[in-house]
């Protein structure tokens, strides 16, 4: 979709700069004239929201790092120092802690949107895989960030999760020793996690640039999954159309964010993390942050440690292979009557796994986790199988047609597969 640039430098300075470093042209093409499908719904605003959250996390994080001390003996009280004695330190910390949760809420909506509308299909495979990479980096960043306050859940969460690597044959123990910087979670662990927690967001930022680059090259998917055919009829320029819509959605999102920050800042945290880390006392139930719970449930559903680790890792990695797993040529589940039911079942399964992840790993909870884990992976098998026999509904001939509701005679009845096959030829 990156076509001819419509930028015309208007002042002498702009012309001078444009001949030497066309950075204003880049910005104009990416955020002003960039054509956006006119039928995007509000689920498409979460990309912008995520960009905002990443910047917000980096900014609040940099301020927090100015006042935080990554040393096991004083980390906890340095966080309390931020909460009590630093001007608006409580605001910075609650924004950062709740920001992590809001970041994950947004990214999960973003991922499920991609799943529902088939945004991973050709020619958007690389765009999708970069998204999975960002998700993995986010998980690592969030996990290490949660360790920094050095409360009980920080310490024991770090112990449980880093210990998982020891399940790997041959290199497992070495990796764990390397992560810990010793033979247990201790001050060296805290030091390196702080260092990496500061580094990874900038790596995320780098991959986000690639993600956006890929997006701007292939163009956005849309609720019909039908490619843009006529730029004039099917798209609107990014500014002002997408800009104002994204901004409005962002303010709504910030409203929810603020609700938690100002009125219930500890709702999404765990009370035990206000108890300073104590290697001699194990909490009754060690639970990770809520956004890891579905994967934690999958981990514990498998009785074998290595098997659990592989299942948990597989649950994320399998996403990267979706473009080749899903055998249907039709992108949007709106036109896939069977796959759509499986999609919603998958959503319920993920929520169910999240609930089970918070429960103790015993009795019926384990059996339920095993059933839901099977269903989780079953969804991907189903996507492959369904695509082989499913008869999709008729696709609209174009984005403009779907918006204006004008299905003209024979063209509207064209077989869906014929329409959707086009992008394949392109990619």
């Amino acid at each position: 979709m990156s076509g001819h640039s419509s930028y015309t430098p208007r002042t002498g300075i702009e012309r001078w700069l444009d001949a030497r470093l066309p950075i204003i042209r880049l910005g104009h093409d990416a955020a002003v004239s960039y054509p956006v499908p006119r039928n995007l719904n509000y689920f498409w605003t979460f990309g912008g929201i995520l960009m905002f959250m990443l910047v917000a996390q980096i900014v609040t994080g940099i301020v927090l790092a100015m006042h935080y001390t990554p040393m096991s003996s004083v980390a906890f009280s340095s966080v309390e120092h931020i909460m009590r004695d630093v001007n608006y330190g409580w605001l910075m910390r609650y924004l950062h802690a709740n920001g992590a949760s809001m970041f994950f809420i947004a990214v999960y909506i973003h991922i499920f949107r991609g799943l529902y509308y088939g945004s991973y299909k050709a020619p958007r495979e690389v765009l999708w895989i970069l998204g999975v990479v960002i998700f993995l980096l986010m998980m690592a960043t969030a996990f290490m960030g949660y360790v920094l306050p050095w409360g009980q859940m920080s310490f024991w969460g770090a112990t449980v999760i880093t210990n998982l690597f020891s399940a790997l044959p041959l290199i497992g123990e070495t990796i764990v020793t390397f992560l810990w910087g010793g033979y247990s979670v201790d001050n060296p662990t805290l030091n390196r996690f702080f260092s990496l927690h500061y580094l990874l967001p900038f790596m995320i930022f780098g991959v986000v640039i690639l993600h956006v680059w890929a997006l701007h090259h292939v163009g956005q998917n849309n609720p019909t999954g039908v490619e843009v055919k006529n730029v004039a009829k099917d798209t609107v320029p990014f500014t002002p159309y997408a800009t104002i819509k994204d901004l409005f959605a962002m303010v709504c999102f910030i409203f929810v964010f603020s609700w938690f920050v100002f009125y219930m800042p500890n709702f999404m945290g765990h009370a035990d993390n206000y108890i300073p880390a104590n290697p001699a006392v194990t909490p009754l139930h060690i639970v990770p942050e809520w956004y890891f719970l579905p994967f934690y449930a999958i981990l514990r559903a498998v009785p074998d440690k290595l098997g659990g680790v592989l299942a948990m890792g597989g649950a994320i990695v399998v996403l990267a292979f979706l473009p080749w797993i899903d055998s249907s040529k039709v992108r949007s589940m709106t036109y896939r009557p069977i796959a759509r039911q499986f999609f919603w079942m998958f959503v319920v399964v993920c929520i169910g796994l999240g609930w089970l992840g918070a429960k103790p790993a015993e009795g019926g909870y384990v059996i339920a986790s095993q059933i839901l884990t099977t269903l989780y992976f079953g969804f991907f098998v189903a996507l492959f199988v369904i695509g082989l026999f499913e008869r999709p509904k008729a696709l609209p001939t174009s984005i403009a047609d779907s918006v204006l509701g004008a299905m003209k005679g024979g063209s509207g009845a064209r077989l869906a597969t014929a329409t959707a096959a086009e992008p394949n030829a392109k990619g």
């Binding site: 159309y241 303010v251 009125y263 009754l284």
Partner: protein, 293 residues
Amino acid sequence: MTTLPFRLALLGLAAGLGAALAQPASAAEERVIPPALRWSFSGPFGTFDRAQLQRGYKVYKEVCANCHSASLIAFRNLSQPGGPEFSTGQITALAATYQIKDGPNEQGEMFERPGRPADRFPAPFPNDQAARAANGGAYPPDLSVLAKARSYERGFPTFIFDMFTQYQEQGPDYIAALLAGYKDPPPAGTPELQPGQYYNTYMPGHLIAMPQPMQDGQVEYPKLPNGQPSAPETVAQYSKDVAAFMVWMAEPHLEARKRLGMQVMLFLLIFGSLLYYTKKKIWARMPDGSPAH
């Protein structure tokens, strides 16, 4: 086309899940949910009750502080806005009643001096081991953030309702219930208590190492002009007051947070509405002027 078999499969799965979850999980530690009390600081407009915080401080000072530290709190905090708001004079006088270890001086010796408002509350024991030794092996936890460190599981679907009601007072509810929850003798059927164990209704598992800390009338509250105490001098009232004080210790900027929150929310509402109507106007037409819908 595959609707019926699909539905049947779903039903079967649901039944399987139900059967799995119906299996008894091993009994977690028995716990009694504390009653939800009314707190002045709950909700979006919540503020601390100054008189209650001042009473709570008195209970803390005369009862709790004998064994528990609150090492993150300084005397000066007691006079800051949004807290008990003692006067600066009161705080200076109060701090001076404590002897604080300082030093070394120019001779290289540690010395004791009267406390200043900037000093933190002195701990009752020099170290954790001394605290344990004096309390039958049990460590009295630091009270600075304890109101945020104690909670109980709300469960589904209550935790979803909590997002809207903003209920988050599990900590003070639990602390107030616990302090007034001692039973002596313990109810019938309780295994015999070991020395240093006490029965408390709200402690998970019911066995607690802290002896009942307060009796009715133990702490004297400020008197009203008619000579009556300003609040009932009962264990129930002491417990509530000290729990409120602990919430303030754990969250000293609670009032500023909720106040700023209201300003932010109002701004977002107005700004959001303006954006909404701007968006509607822009999206009414395509760039070429044709209707967008």
